[in-house]
Protein backbone atom coordinates (compact mmCIF):
# COMPACT_ATOMS: atom_id res chain seq x y z
CA UNK A 1 0.00 0.00 0.00
CA UNK A 2 1.44 3.29 -0.94
CA UNK A 3 -0.09 5.61 1.56
CA UNK A 4 3.21 7.19 2.28
CA UNK A 5 2.78 10.57 3.79
CA UNK A 6 6.41 11.50 3.55
CA UNK A 7 6.56 11.23 -0.21
CA UNK A 8 4.09 13.40 -2.06
CA UNK A 9 2.59 14.82 1.04
CA UNK A 10 -0.65 16.63 0.51
CA UNK A 11 -2.18 14.47 -2.18
CA UNK A 12 -2.37 11.58 0.23
CA UNK A 13 -3.98 13.63 2.93
CA UNK A 14 -7.21 12.29 4.29
CA UNK A 15 -8.77 15.68 3.76
CA UNK A 16 -8.13 16.02 0.06
CA UNK A 17 -10.71 14.27 -2.06
CA UNK A 18 -10.39 14.58 -5.84
CA UNK A 19 -13.27 15.37 -8.11
CA UNK A 20 -15.85 13.23 -9.83
CA UNK A 21 -14.57 10.19 -11.65
CA UNK A 22 -11.09 10.50 -10.28
CA UNK A 23 -12.55 10.25 -6.83
CA UNK A 24 -13.58 6.72 -7.58
CA UNK A 25 -10.40 5.43 -9.10
CA UNK A 26 -7.85 7.15 -6.99
CA UNK A 27 -6.93 6.42 -3.47
CA UNK A 28 -4.29 5.13 -1.15
CA UNK A 29 -4.39 1.58 -2.44
CA UNK A 30 -3.30 2.35 -5.97
CA UNK A 31 -0.33 4.17 -7.31
CA UNK A 32 -0.81 6.90 -9.81
CA UNK A 33 -2.99 9.90 -9.25
CA UNK A 34 -3.52 13.38 -10.47
CA UNK A 35 -3.06 14.85 -13.92
CA UNK A 36 0.48 13.60 -14.54
CA UNK A 37 -0.54 10.03 -14.16
CA UNK A 38 -3.79 10.16 -16.08
CA UNK A 39 -2.23 12.11 -18.89
CA UNK A 40 0.48 9.54 -19.18
CA UNK A 41 -2.18 6.87 -19.03
CA UNK A 42 -4.11 8.45 -21.87
CA UNK A 43 -0.97 8.76 -23.98
CA UNK A 44 -0.04 5.15 -23.44
CA UNK A 45 -3.54 4.01 -24.35
CA UNK A 46 -3.49 6.13 -27.48
CA UNK A 47 -0.15 4.72 -28.54
CA UNK A 48 -1.33 1.24 -27.82
CA UNK A 49 -4.35 1.66 -30.04
CA UNK A 50 -2.27 3.11 -32.82
CA UNK A 51 0.43 0.50 -32.58
CA UNK A 52 -0.90 -2.06 -35.07
CA UNK A 53 -1.51 0.51 -37.75
CA UNK A 54 1.43 2.80 -37.32
CA UNK A 55 4.14 0.91 -35.55
CA UNK A 56 3.85 -2.36 -37.33
CA UNK A 57 3.19 -4.36 -34.22
CA UNK A 58 1.77 -7.69 -35.22
CA UNK A 59 -1.38 -8.47 -33.26
CA UNK A 60 -1.01 -12.18 -33.22
CA UNK A 61 2.10 -11.76 -31.18
CA UNK A 62 0.87 -9.00 -28.96
CA UNK A 63 -2.54 -10.46 -28.20
CA UNK A 64 -0.99 -12.87 -25.78
CA UNK A 65 0.33 -10.04 -23.66
CA UNK A 66 -3.06 -8.49 -23.16
CA UNK A 67 -4.35 -11.74 -21.76
CA UNK A 68 -1.44 -11.91 -19.37
CA UNK A 69 -2.54 -8.53 -18.06
CA UNK A 70 -5.77 -10.05 -16.75
CA UNK A 71 -3.88 -12.89 -15.16
CA UNK A 72 -1.47 -10.52 -13.47
CA UNK A 73 -4.37 -8.46 -12.15
CA UNK A 74 -5.91 -11.59 -10.69
CA UNK A 75 -2.78 -12.47 -8.75
CA UNK A 76 -2.14 -8.89 -7.74
CA UNK A 77 -5.43 -8.47 -5.94
CA UNK A 78 -5.03 -11.84 -4.27
CA UNK A 79 -1.38 -11.72 -3.30
CA UNK A 80 -0.47 -8.05 -3.38
CA UNK A 81 -3.58 -6.67 -1.76
CA UNK A 82 -4.95 -9.51 0.34
CA UNK A 83 -1.64 -11.18 1.10
CA UNK A 84 -2.67 -14.62 -0.10
CA UNK A 85 -0.06 -16.19 -2.35
CA UNK A 86 -1.53 -18.81 -4.59
CA UNK A 87 0.79 -20.82 -6.77
CA UNK A 88 -2.19 -22.18 -8.64
CA UNK A 89 -3.68 -19.29 -10.59
CA UNK A 90 -3.17 -21.47 -13.61
CA UNK A 91 -5.79 -23.83 -12.21
CA UNK A 92 -8.48 -21.19 -12.62
CA UNK A 93 -7.00 -20.05 -15.91
CA UNK A 94 -7.20 -23.59 -17.22
CA UNK A 95 -10.67 -24.33 -15.90
CA UNK A 96 -11.89 -21.14 -17.53
CA UNK A 97 -10.28 -22.08 -20.81
CA UNK A 98 -11.67 -25.58 -20.83
CA UNK A 99 -15.18 -24.52 -19.89
CA UNK A 100 -15.16 -21.83 -22.56
CA UNK A 101 -14.04 -24.41 -25.08
CA UNK A 102 -16.55 -27.03 -24.02
CA UNK A 103 -19.51 -24.69 -24.07
CA UNK A 104 -18.24 -23.13 -27.26
CA UNK A 105 -17.92 -26.42 -29.08
CA UNK A 106 -21.38 -27.43 -28.05
CA UNK A 107 -23.32 -24.22 -28.48
CA UNK A 108 -21.57 -22.09 -31.04
CA UNK A 109 -23.26 -23.61 -34.02
CA UNK A 110 -26.63 -23.22 -32.42
CA UNK A 111 -26.32 -19.70 -31.06
CA UNK A 112 -23.68 -18.15 -33.25
CA UNK A 113 -22.15 -16.38 -30.29
CA UNK A 114 -19.97 -17.12 -27.31
CA UNK A 115 -21.92 -15.30 -24.62
CA UNK A 116 -22.61 -18.41 -22.62
CA UNK A 117 -19.14 -19.74 -23.22
CA UNK A 118 -17.58 -16.62 -21.79
CA UNK A 119 -20.00 -16.56 -18.92
CA UNK A 120 -19.20 -20.17 -18.17
CA UNK A 121 -15.49 -19.53 -18.50
CA UNK A 122 -15.75 -16.91 -15.80
CA UNK A 123 -18.33 -18.57 -13.56
CA UNK A 124 -16.91 -22.07 -13.45
CA UNK A 125 -13.57 -21.08 -11.92
CA UNK A 126 -15.41 -18.77 -9.53
CA UNK A 127 -17.60 -21.55 -8.24
CA UNK A 128 -14.60 -23.85 -8.07
CA UNK A 129 -12.74 -21.20 -6.09
CA UNK A 130 -15.70 -20.73 -3.76
CA UNK A 131 -15.63 -24.41 -3.00
CA UNK A 132 -11.88 -24.77 -2.53
CA UNK A 133 -11.60 -21.41 -0.78
CA UNK A 134 -14.36 -22.18 1.68
CA UNK A 135 -12.53 -25.32 2.71
CA UNK A 136 -9.15 -23.63 2.98
CA UNK A 137 -10.11 -20.41 4.71
CA UNK A 138 -12.56 -21.92 7.13
CA UNK A 139 -9.90 -24.40 8.12
CA UNK A 140 -7.75 -21.35 8.89
CA UNK A 141 -5.05 -22.35 6.45
CA UNK A 142 -2.41 -19.70 5.98
CA UNK A 143 0.55 -18.57 3.99
CA UNK A 144 2.72 -21.19 2.43
CA UNK A 145 0.14 -23.91 2.96
CA UNK A 146 -2.36 -22.17 0.73
CA UNK A 147 0.35 -21.54 -1.83
CA UNK A 148 1.36 -25.17 -1.99
CA UNK A 149 -2.20 -26.44 -1.91
CA UNK A 150 -3.11 -24.37 -4.94
CA UNK A 151 -0.04 -25.59 -6.78
CA UNK A 152 -0.99 -29.13 -5.92
CA UNK A 153 -4.49 -28.50 -7.20
CA UNK A 154 -3.15 -27.21 -10.47
CA UNK A 155 -0.89 -30.24 -10.83
CA UNK A 156 -3.77 -32.54 -10.02
CA UNK A 157 -5.82 -30.96 -12.76
CA UNK A 158 -2.96 -31.26 -15.19
CA UNK A 159 -2.37 -34.90 -14.36
CA UNK A 160 -6.06 -35.63 -14.58
CA UNK A 161 -6.58 -33.88 -17.89
CA UNK A 162 -3.55 -35.57 -19.40
CA UNK A 163 -5.20 -38.92 -19.12
CA UNK A 164 -8.61 -37.98 -20.49
CA UNK A 165 -7.83 -39.26 -23.96
CA UNK A 166 -10.60 -41.85 -24.04
CA UNK A 167 -13.32 -40.42 -26.25
CA UNK A 168 -15.98 -42.69 -24.81
CA UNK A 169 -15.56 -41.65 -21.23
CA UNK A 170 -14.32 -38.12 -21.39
CA UNK A 171 -16.80 -36.26 -23.48
CA UNK A 172 -19.19 -33.49 -22.63
CA UNK A 173 -21.74 -33.16 -25.38
CA UNK A 174 -19.72 -32.82 -28.54
CA UNK A 175 -16.54 -31.86 -26.82
CA UNK A 176 -13.87 -34.45 -26.15
CA UNK A 177 -11.47 -33.63 -23.35
CA UNK A 178 -8.79 -35.15 -25.48
CA UNK A 179 -6.08 -35.87 -22.96
CA UNK A 180 -2.66 -34.51 -23.81
CA UNK A 181 -3.80 -33.34 -27.21
CA UNK A 182 -6.21 -30.93 -25.70
CA UNK A 183 -9.85 -30.17 -26.18
CA UNK A 184 -11.19 -31.48 -29.47
CA UNK A 185 -12.34 -30.97 -32.07
CA UNK A 186 -10.05 -27.97 -31.89
CA UNK A 187 -11.47 -26.60 -35.08
CA UNK A 188 -14.78 -26.21 -33.31
CA UNK A 189 -13.43 -24.10 -30.49
CA UNK A 190 -14.84 -20.71 -31.33
CA UNK A 191 -13.26 -17.32 -31.22
CA UNK A 192 -14.94 -14.67 -29.18
CA UNK A 193 -18.20 -13.71 -30.86
CA UNK A 194 -20.83 -11.25 -29.76
CA UNK A 195 -24.26 -10.63 -31.10
CA UNK A 196 -27.37 -12.50 -32.19
CA UNK A 197 -28.64 -13.98 -35.37
CA UNK A 198 -27.40 -11.97 -38.30
CA UNK A 199 -25.53 -9.33 -36.38
CA UNK A 200 -22.62 -11.21 -34.95
CA UNK A 201 -19.13 -9.87 -34.54
CA UNK A 202 -16.58 -12.62 -34.49
CA UNK A 203 -13.19 -11.67 -33.23
CA UNK A 204 -10.33 -13.64 -34.64
CA UNK A 205 -7.64 -14.17 -32.10
CA UNK A 206 -4.83 -13.56 -34.53
CA UNK A 207 -5.93 -10.22 -35.88
CA UNK A 208 -6.34 -6.62 -34.86
CA UNK A 209 -9.93 -7.13 -33.86
CA UNK A 210 -8.94 -9.21 -30.89
CA UNK A 211 -6.25 -6.74 -29.99
CA UNK A 212 -8.64 -3.81 -29.78
CA UNK A 213 -11.27 -5.86 -28.04
CA UNK A 214 -8.97 -7.31 -25.41
CA UNK A 215 -7.22 -4.02 -24.85
CA UNK A 216 -10.51 -2.23 -24.31
CA UNK A 217 -11.68 -4.93 -21.99
CA UNK A 218 -8.44 -4.74 -20.06
CA UNK A 219 -8.81 -1.00 -19.63
CA UNK A 220 -12.38 -1.38 -18.42
CA UNK A 221 -11.44 -4.13 -15.98
CA UNK A 222 -8.45 -2.13 -14.82
CA UNK A 223 -10.55 0.92 -14.03
CA UNK A 224 -13.22 -1.18 -12.37
CA UNK A 225 -10.63 -2.83 -10.18
CA UNK A 226 -9.17 0.52 -9.25
CA UNK A 227 -12.60 1.59 -8.10
CA UNK A 228 -12.99 -1.56 -6.07
CA UNK A 229 -9.57 -1.36 -4.51
CA UNK A 230 -10.07 2.24 -3.50
CA UNK A 231 -13.41 1.51 -1.89
CA UNK A 232 -13.94 0.24 1.61
CA UNK A 233 -13.40 -3.27 0.33
CA UNK A 234 -9.89 -2.34 -0.72
CA UNK A 235 -9.15 -1.04 2.75
CA UNK A 236 -10.39 -4.29 4.20
CA UNK A 237 -8.16 -6.32 1.92
CA UNK A 238 -5.11 -4.43 3.07
CA UNK A 239 -6.19 -4.70 6.71
CA UNK A 240 -6.60 -8.45 6.33
CA UNK A 241 -3.18 -8.65 4.74
CA UNK A 242 -1.44 -6.57 7.37
CA UNK A 243 -3.05 -7.98 10.50
CA UNK A 244 -5.93 -10.41 10.15
CA UNK A 245 -6.30 -10.96 13.90
CA UNK A 246 -6.62 -7.27 14.63
CA UNK A 247 -9.10 -6.84 11.81
CA UNK A 248 -11.19 -9.59 13.34
CA UNK A 249 -11.42 -7.71 16.61
CA UNK A 250 -13.22 -4.96 14.72
CA UNK A 251 -16.04 -7.29 13.85
CA UNK A 252 -15.00 -8.43 10.36
CA UNK A 253 -15.19 -12.04 9.34
CA UNK A 254 -11.75 -12.36 7.81
CA UNK A 255 -12.53 -15.71 6.24
CA UNK A 256 -15.38 -14.27 4.20
CA UNK A 257 -13.23 -11.41 2.99
CA UNK A 258 -10.54 -13.84 1.94
CA UNK A 259 -13.09 -16.01 0.21
CA UNK A 260 -14.51 -13.04 -1.66
CA UNK A 261 -11.17 -11.87 -3.02
CA UNK A 262 -10.21 -15.44 -3.83
CA UNK A 263 -13.33 -15.85 -5.95
CA UNK A 264 -12.81 -12.52 -7.68
CA UNK A 265 -9.25 -13.49 -8.46
CA UNK A 266 -10.46 -16.80 -9.88
CA UNK A 267 -13.03 -15.01 -12.02
CA UNK A 268 -10.33 -12.80 -13.52
CA UNK A 269 -8.07 -15.76 -14.14
CA UNK A 270 -10.98 -17.58 -15.73
CA UNK A 271 -11.63 -14.62 -17.99
CA UNK A 272 -7.99 -14.69 -19.00
CA UNK A 273 -8.23 -18.38 -19.72
CA UNK A 274 -11.36 -18.02 -21.78
CA UNK A 275 -9.87 -15.21 -23.83
CA UNK A 276 -6.71 -17.19 -24.40
CA UNK A 277 -8.57 -20.26 -25.54
CA UNK A 278 -10.61 -18.10 -27.88
CA UNK A 279 -7.43 -16.48 -29.10
CA UNK A 280 -5.66 -19.61 -30.22
CA UNK A 281 -8.71 -21.87 -30.54
CA UNK A 282 -6.93 -24.42 -28.45
CA UNK A 283 -6.58 -25.56 -24.89
CA UNK A 284 -4.43 -28.40 -23.61
CA UNK A 285 -3.31 -29.41 -20.14
CA UNK A 286 0.38 -28.66 -20.46
CA UNK A 287 -0.37 -25.23 -21.75
CA UNK A 288 -2.72 -24.12 -19.05
CA UNK A 289 -2.08 -26.15 -15.90
CA UNK A 290 1.62 -26.74 -15.79
CA UNK A 291 4.03 -25.61 -13.13
CA UNK A 292 5.59 -23.13 -15.50
CA UNK A 293 2.23 -21.56 -16.29
CA UNK A 294 1.79 -20.97 -12.58
CA UNK A 295 5.22 -19.62 -11.96
CA UNK A 296 5.14 -17.16 -14.85
CA UNK A 297 2.27 -15.25 -13.26
CA UNK A 298 4.17 -15.08 -10.01
CA UNK A 299 7.26 -13.82 -11.80
CA UNK A 300 5.37 -11.07 -13.63
CA UNK A 301 3.71 -9.85 -10.48
CA UNK A 302 6.75 -10.21 -8.24
CA UNK A 303 8.97 -8.34 -10.67
CA UNK A 304 6.43 -5.72 -11.67
CA UNK A 305 5.17 -5.01 -8.19
CA UNK A 306 2.46 -7.07 -6.61
CA UNK A 307 1.03 -4.54 -4.20
CA UNK A 308 -0.16 -2.27 -6.91
CA UNK A 309 -2.52 -3.13 -9.72
CA UNK A 310 -0.90 -0.90 -12.32
CA UNK A 311 2.61 -2.15 -11.75
CA UNK A 312 1.55 -5.77 -11.76
CA UNK A 313 -0.13 -5.45 -15.13
CA UNK A 314 2.76 -3.46 -16.54
CA UNK A 315 5.15 -6.09 -15.24
CA UNK A 316 3.23 -8.84 -16.99
CA UNK A 317 3.09 -7.09 -20.34
CA UNK A 318 6.73 -6.06 -20.21
CA UNK A 319 8.05 -9.46 -19.21
CA UNK A 320 5.92 -11.25 -21.78
CA UNK A 321 7.28 -8.91 -24.41
CA UNK A 322 10.82 -9.53 -23.21
CA UNK A 323 10.32 -13.27 -23.21
CA UNK A 324 8.93 -13.17 -26.72
CA UNK A 325 11.82 -11.06 -27.92
CA UNK A 326 14.29 -13.44 -26.33
CA UNK A 327 12.75 -16.58 -27.73
CA UNK A 328 12.52 -15.19 -31.24
CA UNK A 329 15.87 -13.49 -31.40
CA UNK A 330 18.00 -15.75 -29.28
CA UNK A 331 17.08 -19.23 -28.26
CA UNK A 332 14.45 -20.49 -25.85
CA UNK A 333 16.94 -21.78 -23.30
CA UNK A 334 18.43 -18.35 -22.96
CA UNK A 335 15.00 -16.83 -22.65
CA UNK A 336 14.15 -18.94 -19.65
CA UNK A 337 17.59 -18.36 -18.22
CA UNK A 338 17.20 -14.62 -18.46
CA UNK A 339 13.72 -14.73 -16.95
CA UNK A 340 15.02 -16.67 -14.00
CA UNK A 341 17.90 -14.27 -13.63
CA UNK A 342 15.60 -11.27 -13.84
CA UNK A 343 13.39 -12.71 -11.14
CA UNK A 344 16.29 -13.24 -8.78
CA UNK A 345 17.79 -9.85 -9.51
CA UNK A 346 14.46 -8.08 -9.09
CA UNK A 347 13.76 -9.78 -5.76
CA UNK A 348 17.17 -8.73 -4.53
CA UNK A 349 17.32 -5.20 -5.86
CA UNK A 350 13.73 -4.06 -5.99
CA UNK A 351 11.78 -6.39 -3.72
CA UNK A 352 8.68 -4.26 -3.94
CA UNK A 353 8.77 -4.48 -7.71
CA UNK A 354 10.65 -2.80 -10.50
CA UNK A 355 7.71 -0.75 -11.67
CA UNK A 356 6.88 0.25 -8.11
CA UNK A 357 10.39 1.57 -7.82
CA UNK A 358 9.99 3.48 -11.07
CA UNK A 359 6.59 4.73 -9.99
CA UNK A 360 7.93 6.04 -6.71
CA UNK A 361 10.70 7.88 -8.49
CA UNK A 362 8.23 9.41 -10.89
CA UNK A 363 5.95 10.33 -8.04
CA UNK A 364 8.72 12.12 -6.27
CA UNK A 365 9.59 13.91 -9.46
CA UNK A 366 6.10 15.26 -9.85
CA UNK A 367 5.65 15.84 -6.16
CA UNK A 368 8.52 18.20 -6.13
CA UNK A 369 7.03 20.28 -8.85
CA UNK A 370 4.21 21.42 -6.61
CA UNK A 371 4.41 25.08 -5.72
CA UNK A 372 5.36 25.95 -2.15
CA UNK A 373 2.12 27.90 -1.79
CA UNK A 374 0.06 24.84 -2.54
CA UNK A 375 1.91 22.87 0.11
CA UNK A 376 1.55 25.62 2.70
CA UNK A 377 -2.14 25.99 1.98
CA UNK A 378 -2.79 22.30 2.34
CA UNK A 379 -0.81 22.07 5.53
CA UNK A 380 -3.32 24.34 7.17
CA UNK A 381 -6.20 21.98 6.61
Amino acid sequence: MTGRADETTPVNSHAKIPFGFLRLVEGPQTMGRGWPFWTGFAIVILLAFLAPTYFGIRPYRVNEFIVSGFLAASLSILWGYAGILSLGQAAFFGVGGYVFGIIGINLFDATGNTHLALAGGILAPTVFAAFVGAIMFFARLKGVYIAILMLVLSLLLETFMLQTADPEVYRIGEALLGGANGLRPASDIPSVAFGWGEAVAEINGRREGFYYFALTLLIVVYLALRMLLNSSFGYLLVAVREDPDRTETFGYDVRLIQLAVFCLSAALAGLAGSLDTARINRVDPELVFSVSANIMVVIWVAVGGRKDLTTAILGAITLEWLYLWLTTSGSPEYATLVMGGILVAAMLIAPEGVFVWIGNRLGRLFGRSRTPAAKAGEAHQ
Partner: protein
Protein backbone atom coordinates in the same frame (compact mmCIF):
# COMPACT_ATOMS: atom_id res chain seq x y z
CA UNK B 1 -7.50 -12.92 52.35
CA UNK B 2 -10.47 -11.29 50.81
CA UNK B 3 -12.85 -14.04 49.79
CA UNK B 4 -13.96 -13.72 46.18
CA UNK B 5 -17.43 -12.38 46.59
CA UNK B 6 -20.19 -13.09 44.15
CA UNK B 7 -20.97 -9.80 42.53
CA UNK B 8 -24.43 -8.53 43.23
CA UNK B 9 -24.76 -6.01 40.46
CA UNK B 10 -25.87 -2.74 41.90
CA UNK B 11 -27.31 -1.63 38.58
CA UNK B 12 -29.14 -4.82 37.64
CA UNK B 13 -27.84 -7.54 35.38
CA UNK B 14 -24.08 -7.65 34.84
CA UNK B 15 -22.98 -6.73 31.36
CA UNK B 16 -20.29 -9.38 31.33
CA UNK B 17 -20.40 -12.62 33.23
CA UNK B 18 -17.75 -15.31 33.43
CA UNK B 19 -19.07 -18.54 34.94
CA UNK B 20 -16.71 -21.23 36.15
CA UNK B 21 -14.40 -20.89 33.20
CA UNK B 22 -11.49 -23.27 33.05
CA UNK B 23 -8.85 -23.48 30.33
CA UNK B 24 -6.36 -26.29 30.02
CA UNK B 25 -3.44 -26.38 27.60
CA UNK B 26 -2.43 -30.01 27.67
CA UNK B 27 -1.18 -30.43 31.19
CA UNK B 28 -1.21 -26.77 32.12
CA UNK B 29 -4.28 -25.20 33.73
CA UNK B 30 -4.12 -21.60 32.57
CA UNK B 31 -7.51 -20.60 33.93
CA UNK B 32 -8.94 -22.28 36.98
CA UNK B 33 -12.67 -22.21 37.60
CA UNK B 34 -12.85 -18.48 37.25
CA UNK B 35 -16.09 -16.66 37.97
CA UNK B 36 -16.52 -12.94 37.65
CA UNK B 37 -19.29 -10.47 36.98
CA UNK B 38 -18.84 -6.98 35.64
CA UNK B 39 -21.53 -4.33 36.07
CA UNK B 40 -22.40 -1.95 33.25
CA UNK B 41 -20.32 1.18 33.45
CA UNK B 42 -17.81 -0.38 35.78
CA UNK B 43 -14.08 0.20 35.67
CA UNK B 44 -12.37 -3.00 36.71
CA UNK B 45 -8.69 -3.84 37.07
CA UNK B 46 -7.11 -7.26 36.80
CA UNK B 47 -3.72 -7.71 38.36
CA UNK B 48 -1.54 -10.61 39.29
CA UNK B 49 2.02 -11.84 38.99
CA UNK B 50 3.47 -13.02 35.70
CA UNK B 51 1.89 -16.20 34.43
CA UNK B 52 -1.23 -15.68 36.49
CA UNK B 53 -3.35 -16.08 33.37
CA UNK B 54 -4.49 -12.53 32.76
CA UNK B 55 -3.87 -12.42 29.05
CA UNK B 56 -5.36 -15.89 28.66
CA UNK B 57 -8.44 -14.54 30.37
CA UNK B 58 -8.78 -11.78 27.80
CA UNK B 59 -8.27 -14.20 24.95
CA UNK B 60 -11.06 -16.32 26.38
CA UNK B 61 -13.29 -13.26 26.59
CA UNK B 62 -12.58 -12.26 23.04
CA UNK B 63 -12.94 -15.73 21.63
CA UNK B 64 -9.39 -16.16 20.37
CA UNK B 65 -9.33 -19.32 22.47
CA UNK B 66 -12.21 -21.41 23.74
CA UNK B 67 -12.65 -22.49 27.35
CA UNK B 68 -12.35 -26.11 28.34
CA UNK B 69 -15.27 -25.63 30.70
CA UNK B 70 -17.63 -22.85 31.66
CA UNK B 71 -19.62 -20.08 29.99
CA UNK B 72 -19.23 -16.47 29.13
CA UNK B 73 -22.26 -14.24 28.95
CA UNK B 74 -22.44 -10.83 27.38
CA UNK B 75 -25.58 -8.86 28.11
CA UNK B 76 -27.23 -12.07 29.15
CA UNK B 77 -26.36 -13.84 25.89
CA UNK B 78 -24.13 -16.90 25.92
CA UNK B 79 -21.21 -15.99 23.69
CA UNK B 80 -18.98 -18.93 24.62
CA UNK B 81 -19.24 -20.48 21.16
CA UNK B 82 -19.00 -17.28 19.18
CA UNK B 83 -15.91 -16.40 17.12
CA UNK B 84 -14.11 -13.11 17.80
CA UNK B 85 -15.69 -11.11 15.04
CA UNK B 86 -19.16 -11.95 16.28
CA UNK B 87 -18.26 -10.82 19.78
CA UNK B 88 -16.89 -7.59 18.41
CA UNK B 89 -20.16 -6.96 16.61
CA UNK B 90 -22.03 -7.36 19.83
CA UNK B 91 -20.01 -4.63 21.46
CA UNK B 92 -16.89 -6.23 22.87
CA UNK B 93 -13.76 -4.25 22.07
CA UNK B 94 -10.21 -5.23 22.87
CA UNK B 95 -6.67 -3.99 22.76
CA UNK B 96 -4.35 -6.96 23.10
CA UNK B 97 -1.02 -6.95 24.81
CA UNK B 98 0.92 -6.69 21.57
CA UNK B 99 -0.84 -3.56 20.61
CA UNK B 100 -1.66 -4.36 17.01
CA UNK B 101 -1.76 -1.40 14.74
CA UNK B 102 -1.46 -1.31 10.96
CA UNK B 103 2.06 -0.02 10.94
CA UNK B 104 2.34 0.46 7.20
CA UNK B 105 -0.69 2.73 7.02
CA UNK B 106 -1.27 6.26 8.21
CA UNK B 107 -3.06 7.07 11.44
CA UNK B 108 -6.18 8.09 9.57
CA UNK B 109 -6.20 4.91 7.51
CA UNK B 110 -5.91 2.88 10.69
CA UNK B 111 -9.15 4.33 11.94
CA UNK B 112 -10.93 3.60 8.70
CA UNK B 113 -11.32 -0.08 9.54
CA UNK B 114 -13.05 0.17 12.91
CA UNK B 115 -15.03 3.28 12.00
CA UNK B 116 -16.34 1.78 8.79
CA UNK B 117 -18.45 -0.65 10.79
CA UNK B 118 -20.72 2.13 11.94
CA UNK B 119 -20.02 5.15 9.77
CA UNK B 120 -19.66 6.28 6.18
CA UNK B 121 -16.26 7.42 4.90
CA UNK B 122 -17.50 10.98 4.54
CA UNK B 123 -18.05 11.26 8.28
CA UNK B 124 -14.61 10.00 9.13
CA UNK B 125 -12.36 13.04 9.14
CA UNK B 126 -14.42 14.61 11.90
CA UNK B 127 -14.72 11.44 13.93
CA UNK B 128 -11.05 10.70 13.67
CA UNK B 129 -10.14 14.21 14.77
CA UNK B 130 -12.37 13.78 17.83
CA UNK B 131 -10.78 10.52 18.86
CA UNK B 132 -7.28 11.81 18.24
CA UNK B 133 -8.01 14.71 20.58
CA UNK B 134 -9.01 12.29 23.30
CA UNK B 135 -5.93 10.14 22.97
CA UNK B 136 -3.40 12.96 22.76
CA UNK B 137 -2.61 12.41 19.10
CA UNK B 138 -4.23 15.50 17.61
CA UNK B 139 -3.22 16.46 14.11
CA UNK B 140 -1.33 13.27 13.33
CA UNK B 141 -3.81 11.90 10.80
CA UNK B 142 -1.32 11.61 7.96
CA UNK B 143 1.57 10.31 9.97
CA UNK B 144 2.79 6.86 9.06
CA UNK B 145 2.16 4.67 12.07
CA UNK B 146 5.53 3.04 12.14
CA UNK B 147 7.04 6.47 12.61
CA UNK B 148 5.12 6.99 15.83
CA UNK B 149 6.70 6.37 19.20
CA UNK B 150 5.81 3.25 21.12
CA UNK B 151 3.57 5.15 23.51
CA UNK B 152 1.80 6.86 20.63
CA UNK B 153 1.16 3.55 18.96
CA UNK B 154 -0.33 2.24 22.20
CA UNK B 155 -2.70 5.19 22.29
CA UNK B 156 -3.52 4.66 18.66
CA UNK B 157 -4.44 1.08 19.34
CA UNK B 158 -6.63 2.13 22.24
CA UNK B 159 -8.18 4.77 20.01
CA UNK B 160 -8.93 2.22 17.33
CA UNK B 161 -10.67 0.02 19.85
CA UNK B 162 -12.67 3.02 21.07
CA UNK B 163 -13.60 3.87 17.49
CA UNK B 164 -15.63 0.70 17.37
CA UNK B 165 -17.85 2.23 20.06
CA UNK B 166 -17.80 -0.89 22.18
CA UNK B 167 -20.02 -1.49 25.16
CA UNK B 168 -17.20 -3.21 26.99
CA UNK B 169 -13.57 -2.38 26.38
CA UNK B 170 -10.80 -4.78 27.32
CA UNK B 171 -7.36 -3.21 27.65
CA UNK B 172 -4.41 -5.52 28.09
CA UNK B 173 -1.48 -3.53 29.44
CA UNK B 174 -2.42 -0.13 28.02
CA UNK B 175 0.53 1.55 29.70
CA UNK B 176 3.16 -1.00 28.72
CA UNK B 177 6.45 0.57 27.74
CA UNK B 178 5.35 4.08 28.63
CA UNK B 179 7.18 6.65 30.69
CA UNK B 180 5.71 8.29 33.77
CA UNK B 181 3.93 11.14 32.04
CA UNK B 182 2.52 8.95 29.32
CA UNK B 183 1.29 6.48 31.92
CA UNK B 184 -0.46 9.31 33.71
CA UNK B 185 -2.13 10.43 30.48
CA UNK B 186 -3.24 6.92 29.74
CA UNK B 187 -4.86 6.62 33.14
CA UNK B 188 -6.68 9.87 32.48
CA UNK B 189 -7.89 8.68 29.10
CA UNK B 190 -9.30 5.57 30.70
CA UNK B 191 -10.96 7.44 33.52
CA UNK B 192 -12.61 9.90 31.18
CA UNK B 193 -13.90 7.11 28.96
CA UNK B 194 -15.33 5.37 31.99
CA UNK B 195 -16.88 8.58 33.20
CA UNK B 196 -18.85 8.67 29.94
CA UNK B 197 -20.28 5.28 30.73
CA UNK B 198 -17.98 2.83 28.95
CA UNK B 199 -17.40 -0.40 30.84
CA UNK B 200 -13.67 -1.01 30.93
CA UNK B 201 -11.56 -3.92 32.14
CA UNK B 202 -7.86 -3.21 32.43
CA UNK B 203 -4.98 -5.63 32.88
CA UNK B 204 -1.88 -4.00 34.21
CA UNK B 205 1.35 -4.60 36.07
CA UNK B 206 2.11 -1.03 36.97
CA UNK B 207 0.80 -0.48 40.51
CA UNK B 208 1.04 3.28 40.22
CA UNK B 209 -1.26 3.07 37.29
CA UNK B 210 -3.77 0.90 39.09
CA UNK B 211 -3.67 3.13 42.10
CA UNK B 212 -4.41 6.06 39.86
CA UNK B 213 -7.47 4.32 38.52
CA UNK B 214 -8.64 3.32 42.01
CA UNK B 215 -11.36 0.96 40.95
CA UNK B 216 -12.63 -2.48 41.83
CA UNK B 217 -9.71 -4.87 41.44
CA UNK B 218 -9.43 -8.62 40.94
CA UNK B 219 -6.22 -10.47 41.64
CA UNK B 220 -5.43 -13.52 39.56
CA UNK B 221 -3.01 -16.16 40.72
CA UNK B 222 -2.29 -19.43 38.95
CA UNK B 223 -5.34 -18.87 36.79
CA UNK B 224 -7.76 -18.53 39.67
CA UNK B 225 -9.41 -15.55 41.29
CA UNK B 226 -7.28 -14.98 44.37
CA UNK B 227 -8.75 -11.84 45.79
CA UNK B 228 -11.20 -9.13 44.89
CA UNK B 229 -12.10 -5.81 46.32
CA UNK B 230 -11.49 -2.10 46.10
CA UNK B 231 -7.96 -1.09 45.27
CA UNK B 232 -7.24 0.02 48.85
CA UNK B 233 -8.35 -3.36 50.21
CA UNK B 234 -6.15 -5.22 47.73
CA UNK B 235 -3.19 -2.97 48.30
CA UNK B 236 -3.18 -3.65 52.00
CA UNK B 237 -3.88 -7.38 51.75
CA UNK B 238 -0.96 -9.43 53.07
CA UNK B 239 -1.70 -12.51 51.03
CA UNK B 240 -1.76 -10.48 47.85
CA UNK B 241 1.60 -9.05 48.74
CA UNK B 242 2.95 -12.52 49.30
CA UNK B 243 2.00 -13.79 45.90
CA UNK B 244 3.84 -10.88 44.42
CA UNK B 245 6.87 -12.14 46.34
CA UNK B 246 7.48 -9.02 48.24
CA UNK B 247 7.05 -6.72 45.29
CA UNK B 248 4.30 -4.13 45.45
Amino acid sequence: MTAPAAMTAAHGRPILEIRNVTKDFGGVRATDDLSLAIAPGELHCMIGPNGAGKSTFFKLLMGTIRPTKGEILFNGEDITRLPPHQRARRGLGIKFQNMQVYSELTVFQNFFIPLRRNHKPSAMPGLVADILDRIHLSGLEDELVRNLSHGQQQWLSIGMSIALEPKVLLLDEPAAGMGRDETQSTAEIIKSLNAEGMTIIVIEHDMEFIRNLSSRTSVLHLGALFAQGSYEEIETDDDVRKIYLGKV
